[in-house]
């Protein structure tokens, strides 16, 4: 029996719930969040804070908040401040204020009964617990939309105006609301809106280079040295960028690509592993897309598929692809089309997402074109094209 080889050093570092120590390209937002809550380490009883974190899927909202939570809780312990950071995903609790508060209460009393009282009573009980322990809580409501959609503005009103109902008592409950789109806030009444909207951290979509940095940092934690070549990272970043700059998608892709590398008993995560990973997540290739191609588009694509089946690189030059295409034409007893025509085919194949063409400057001699196969495994594409071309022969 052969020894099990793995490209991974610790694949748990790619788990969706893992929060890395460093968050590349979110450093300033983390500092800002700490600034908003700096009072919580000095005089937490004197005020509370409400912060909104907004941004598209995979822009690091949850990771930012949880990293902040870990750090502020650690600082609070050092300063003997009784501060808790509680992170709740509202969707997991069906957007119910009652269930969300129950989660918060369970931090203090894990066996607190689950029935027999209303959300408002439970909020009162939570405050009593905080008063008795002289504790303060930063409650993060992740996927905040779910709470507003399910409960309407009333639940948010109760949370944001809580301290008005206990004027002489110390302040205890701060909020971080995480949401994708600020539009949902418009559903709240004016006073709730104004109390929420003063501190907004908007996370911008990651650029491709930022995604490369994020993936590289995770690869160092999760993979053995040199297991993930630079062009593999670039290819994954490219895919994540085309998925709206979604870093989470990129990290999942990195993990899956690693799994395919292990399954193929490879020492490195190759471009083909990435293609297999992409096609396992999204339906990358529809047979009808290929059926509608003309003969020379299919032959060109077959040449490209054969190159990437042999070649571990993520891209090749158009000149190389053209040479292989010429060989394929010979095999099918047909003359190759002109370079200009082939360039047009490359553009249309890029437009439908099968290939990707990057024009790059090459010093003083002008420009050249790199061709890559970003999503479809080369072996799968070759097999599909072989079948289609066989059908055309008959």
């Amino acid at each position: 029996m052969s020894h099990y080889r793995s490209v991974f050093k610790d694949e748990t570092r790619l788990d969706i719930n893992y929060i890395p120590y460093a968050l590349p390209h979110r450093e300033s937002e983390l500092r800002l969040l700490k600034e908003f809550f700096s009072f919580a380490l000095q005089s937490p009883e004197k005020m509370t804070q409400r912060v909104i974190i907004t941004g598209d899927v995979g822009t690091g909202k949850t990771a930012l908040s949880q990293r902040f939570g870990t750090e502020i809780a650690h600082e609070a312990t050092k300063k003997s401040v009784n501060l808790y950071y509680v992170h709740v995903n509202c969707r997991e609790y069906r957007g119910s204020l009652f269930l969300i508060l129950q989660h918060a209460v369970s931090v203090f009393h894990p066996n607190f009964p689950k029935r027999g009282y209303a959300a408002e009573e439970l909020l009162g009980m939570l405050m009593q617990m905080l008063d008795e322990e002289n504790a303060h809580i930063i409650l993060t409501l992740d996927e905040f939309e779910s709470l507003v959609e399910n409960e309407g503005g009333e639940a948010v009103y109760k949370l944001t105006r809580l301290h008005e109902t206990r004027p002489s008592k110390p302040q205890r409950l701060s909020l971080i609301c995480i949401l994708r789109d600020l539009k949902i806030i418009e559903r709240l009444d004016a006073s709730t809106r104004s109390s929420l909207q003063s501190n907004i951290i908007n996370l911008q979509k990651y650029s491709k280079q930022q995604l490369v940095d994020i993936l590289a940092a995770r690869a160092v934690l999760a993979f053995k040295p040199s297991a993930v070549p630079e062009d593999t990272l670039e290819m994954i970043a490219e895919n994540a960028f085309s998925e709206n700059g979604n870093a989470r998608f990129g990290i999942e892709l990195l993990w899956r690509a690693g799994k395919y590398a292990n399954a193929d008993e490879l020492d490195t995560v190759t471009a083909e592993c990435v293609r297999k990973a992409v096609s396992s997540i999204v339906p990358a290739m529809r047979r009808s897309d290929l059926e509608n191609l003309n003969l020379h588009e299919k032959l060109f694509l077959l040449g490209v598929a054969r190159i990437f089946k042999q070649n571990k690189n993520a891209s090749v030059t158009l000149a190389e692809a053209e040479q292989t295409y010429a060989v394929v034409c010979e095999e099918f007893n047909t003359s190759p089309v002109s370079h200009t025509q082939l360039w047009k085919y490359l553009r249309s194949l890029s437009a439908i997402g099968i290939l990707k063409a990057d024009v790059i400057a090459t010093g003083t001699r002008g420009r050249s074109t790199n061709v890559s196969l970003p999503r479809i495994p080369a072996s799968e594409l070759e097999k599909e094209l072989d079948n289609l071309l066989e059908d055309e022969k008959t």
Partner: protein, 93 residues
């Protein structure tokens, strides 16, 4: 209030079970205790009252919710916890 004798406290199988339960679960409300012991609310309340009067357990109110736990400040409670621990450790061996 006259303190009860040891044999009177521990002669009840349900009181012993309640103490073991609170030792394991840390704290519970009356319904939670009754449910786990398989008795009705009234029976659970009666035994909890005896144990609380002896100072072995105590309760805290949150709104309408009454949570019971072992009274960590009582030497009797420490003796009970020690007994449970030694007993269960010996049974495992």
């Amino acid at each position: 209030m006259i303190a009860m004798d040891l044999e009177d406290i521990f002669s009840s199988r349900l009181r012993m079970k309640t103490l073991k339960l609170l030792d394991k679960m840390h704290e519970l409300n009356v319904s939670g205790i009754a449910h786990r012991l398989g008795v009705n609310y009234g029976v659970a309340t009666k035994h909890l009252k005896v144990l609380e009067e002896e100072g072995i357990i105590q309760h805290k109110m949150f709104g309408r919710i009454r949570l019971y736990r072992l009274n960590e400040n009582s030497p009797k409670t420490k003796a009970v916890q020690n007994l449970i621990e030694v007993w269960e450790h010996a049974n495992k061996q």
